[in-house]
């Protein structure tokens, strides 16, 4: 553990520090958006968006290699394709609700397919595994800035529209009778989900990012009974899981993404067991 701390502050080895900072910064957005995704039960939409991000990552690397577009970093590509996927899903959600699951499935697969195709046409060191399962070595300083900016945008939107999100998620019809444009909030949430998902793809990869979005929120849901507290608790849980996961992955020399997800899942099981025991005890006390 002291080795780990020494490494974090070692000026010659920035990657671990960057990974920790990325986890800490992104936790705020993950707590906020993850809670909304969980209460609205749209984690399958978040899944499609994150997998579509591979398309953008592949395209960005391809453009960098063949056309020298150095500004087109993988995270920028991921961001653009996630937003595109989010935009398409919002549109479908609004207009062709009955086809939604089919189209989400298609976007999910097409994103992966185009990503792999681009990567196969980009010679060099790129290993698709890095993007699928995360690799803290690919986080750069610019990525941190991007994470910070996205974080501020997502959290600000969540605060400004908190009451509207709460009402629309709880009872869409009632919100419509109150004159709310529920489609706008649904779309906004999907866009926020797209932004958030991209924040952590470098850390845990696009396959597992959904787990990191939903597990902390699920943990928080067991412990709180108001959405705003759920968001706060989810952010803290996410922070705890990524930090602990990174430390354990360093100590065991294991892939960071996998360890973070397993730590989070273990945390969820612990909290679930705790809350179920409490419920049982309370029921027994009442019956005595």
């Amino acid at each position: 553990m002291t080795d780990f701390l020494a490494l974090v502050v070692n000026p010659d080895l920035p990657f671990l520090r960057y990974a920790l900072l990325a986890g800490i910064l992104a936790s705020a957005a993950f707590g906020v958006v993850g809670s909304l995704v969980v209460v609205k039960r749209i984690s399958y939409i978040a899944g499609a968006i994150s997998h579509a991000a591979l398309g953008g990552i592949g395209a960005a690397l391809y453009l960098q290699y063949h056309f020298g577009w150095s500004f087109m970093t993988p995270i920028t590509g991921a961001l653009l394709s996630a937003l595109l996927a989010g935009g398409i899903i919002s549109f479908v959600n609004l207009r062709f609700k009955q086809r939604e699951d089919t189209i989400i499935g298609i976007i999910w697969a097409v994103g992966m397919a185009t990503g792999l195709l681009f990567l196969s046409r980009t010679p060099g060191y790129t290993d698709p595994m890095s993007y699928l399962f995360g690799n803290i070595l690919i986080i750069g300083q610019n990525d941190l800035w991007m994470i910070l900016i996205l974080d501020v945008v997502v959290v600000a939107a969540a605060i400004l529209f908190y009451n509207q999100f709460l009402a629309v998620s709880f009872d869409e019809n009632f919100a419509r009778v109150r004159g709310m444009r529920t489609g706008f909030y649904q779309g906004l949430l999907i866009i926020m989900t797209a932004l958030t998902v991209v924040l952590m793809t470098t850390l845990v990869g696009i396959v597992m990012v959904i787990a990191l979005l939903t597990i902390p929120a699920a943990v928080a849901g067991l412990l709180t009974r108001r959405l705003k507290f759920m968001m706060l608790a989810a952010a803290l849980a996410c922070l705890l899981f990524t930090t602990t996961g990174l430390a354990v992955s360093y100590i065991w020399d294991a892939p960071s993404g996998a360890v973070i997800i397993l730590v989070a899942s273990a945390g969820y099981l612990l909290v679930l067991a705790f809350s179920q025991t409490q419920k049982l005890l309370r029921a027994r006390r009442r019956s005595v």
Partner: protein, 262 residues
Amino acid sequence: MSLIDVNGLYFSREALPVLEDVNFTIEEKQMVTIVGPNGGGKTTLLLLLLGLLSPDRGQILIKGRRPAAVQRLMGYVPQYSLFDPTFPVTVYDVVLMGSLRRFWGFYTKADHEAVDQALATVGLCDLAQRSFSELSGGQRQRVLIARALVGRPEILLLDEPTANVDAAVGEHLNELLRRLNQDLTILLVTHDDAFVSNFTTRVFCINRGFTEHPARQLQEGAFVDALYQTPVAAVHHGIHLDGHHHAGESGQINLRGGCTHD
């Protein structure tokens, strides 16, 4: 001009007719019960009146305007059983949603005062900070009524308020609605004829088509049996709520005041 004027209304879903040639008018402060078999179009009619669906043909006018233009006049009380039981929200937060009107931002002090008043009206001040999912069915129904009242509606539209609540709780809701009916027009969808027969002023039967029955006829049970094509146990409860205490279900009903905070 009537408060609500429905003229030659047709509505279908995926080419299947749901409502055909529905015509009626409703005057202010009437209490209308909409009955009919499941799938007969009761809830669809409610959604059309709320402006959440648009008719295929015919028109609905509320105070001479389309429903979508006068949604602010309407207090919608959906079925409580449709809600996600794990949703993290308190009673107070749910009622506050009734003041929602802005595109973004926060509630005002007046909105919060309206919540206290609405909670007092339905007798749930004590439970304000409880989780919505912890409450009993009857209590949840009253929370949803309070939420509708916060928006100061002129018409209250309720969808199956007594579904899955026991008779005693139903009577309690009945009493609450009767009081609210002094100021509001009430439209209520139900398949539970026993619940409303005591004070309803009009009974609409929706089974694709529309028929109006005198309220008294409902009590005789004959038409209900004909409607469901099987004898229906229509139990008539006398209303004597004073001194009629159901643990956890009755609260102090206070029409004018607000919640008192210690």
